[in-house]
């Protein structure tokens, strides 16, 4: 994922802000990392360049 996607993304459950922590980047894209929702205290993964924002209950 490109970092500019962060302008649009939100937590699928509470629609609150997400905080990106990129652990691996390539060519300006986040390949591995996490997206953290403080309100829900929930962590979502970025895996192989794709953010996984399925709500936890639906995984």
């Amino acid at each position: 994922m490109k970092k500019d996607l962060m302008e649009l993304l939100c937590c699928p459950v509470c629609k609150g802000e997400l905080e990106l922590d990129a652990t691996r980047e390539e060519d300006g894209e986040v390949v591995e990392g996490t997206l953290y929702c403080e309100d829900c205290d929930e962590t979502y993964a970025v895996d192989d360049g794709i953010p996984d924002l399925l709500p936890p209950e639906a995984r």
Binding site: D4, C10, P12, K15, L54
Partner: protein
């Protein structure tokens, strides 16, 4: 089975590309009608192989995203995509991970009726669209197209079978204006001469004509109304 398992299987069997090819016969006409302006942000729900975001980006969208619940579909879609401005996100129709009003257009082909609660999904689409943004909802599985009804037997995920009128009603209930509704016939699929029926898939030539040429793809276009 849940959506993820079902469609991960499909993706692993390569059915994503087969769907793309068949669906594009009608989906390309639906895509061509979307009033994309240069720089628009658009979203494809249940993107499968991801052809729609790629096509919309080519038509001038600034950013085009494909959302799907199946990681295998998304992995394939990403593999077919190069160039920037196209991205993929794993998510669920009823819990879209996008801020309010960020999209100018939302598209969906042969996916919407898999939503567990289609009214909740519509409400989510409406939420992520700006006022005046369009939802192009294309389905081959609907009440009037009777030969499609048996599909449910082959799929382990619940499918909502609405009529044309039910689509319009549901759109209005969710705060859309219904701008347009019609059938896009598939004129490209080849229909064999009558003496070759029954085929593996079709009892009669009439049934096949009914499915592709008569009913084809039901497209309902909604425009997100102002928020009250």
């Amino acid at each position: 089975m849940n959506v993820r398992e079902e469609f991960d299987d499909w993706a692993r069997e390569g059915r994503d590309r087969g769907m793309e090819e068949r669906h594009l016969n009608t989906a390309k006409h639906a895509l061509a009608r979307i009033p994309v302006e240069k720089g628009d942000y658009v979203l494809d729900l249940g993107t499968g192989s991801g052809y729609a975001p790629r096509a919309l980006r080519e038509r001038g969208a600034g950013r085009a995203y494909g959302l799907d619940a199946s990681p295998e579909m998304l992995r394939n879609a990403r593999g077919y995509t190069d160039g920037d401005g196209v991205g993929y996100v794993r998510g669920d129709f009823e819990h879209l991970p996008f801020d309010d009003g960020v999209f100018d257009g939302v598209f969906s082909m042969e996916a919407f009726y898999y939503a567990r609660d289609p009214l909740d999904a519509l409400a989510e689409v409406r939420r992520v669209l700006r006022p005046g943004g369009t939802f192009y909802c294309a389905v081959n599985f609907f009440e009037e197209s009777e030969t499609t009804h048996r599909w449910q037997e082959k799929v382990d995920v619940g499918m909502t079978l609405w009529s044309r009128a039910e689509y319009r009603e549901a759109f209005r209930e969710a705060g859309f204006y219904v701008a347009s509704q019609d059938h896009i016939p598939d004129r490209e699929v080849e229909i064999p001469p009558a003496d070759e029926f029954p085929t593996d898939d079709w009892e009669s030539r009439e049934a096949m004509v009914d499915r592709y040429r008569r009913w084809g793809t039901l497209l309902t276009v909604g425009v997100s109304a102002e928020n009250e």
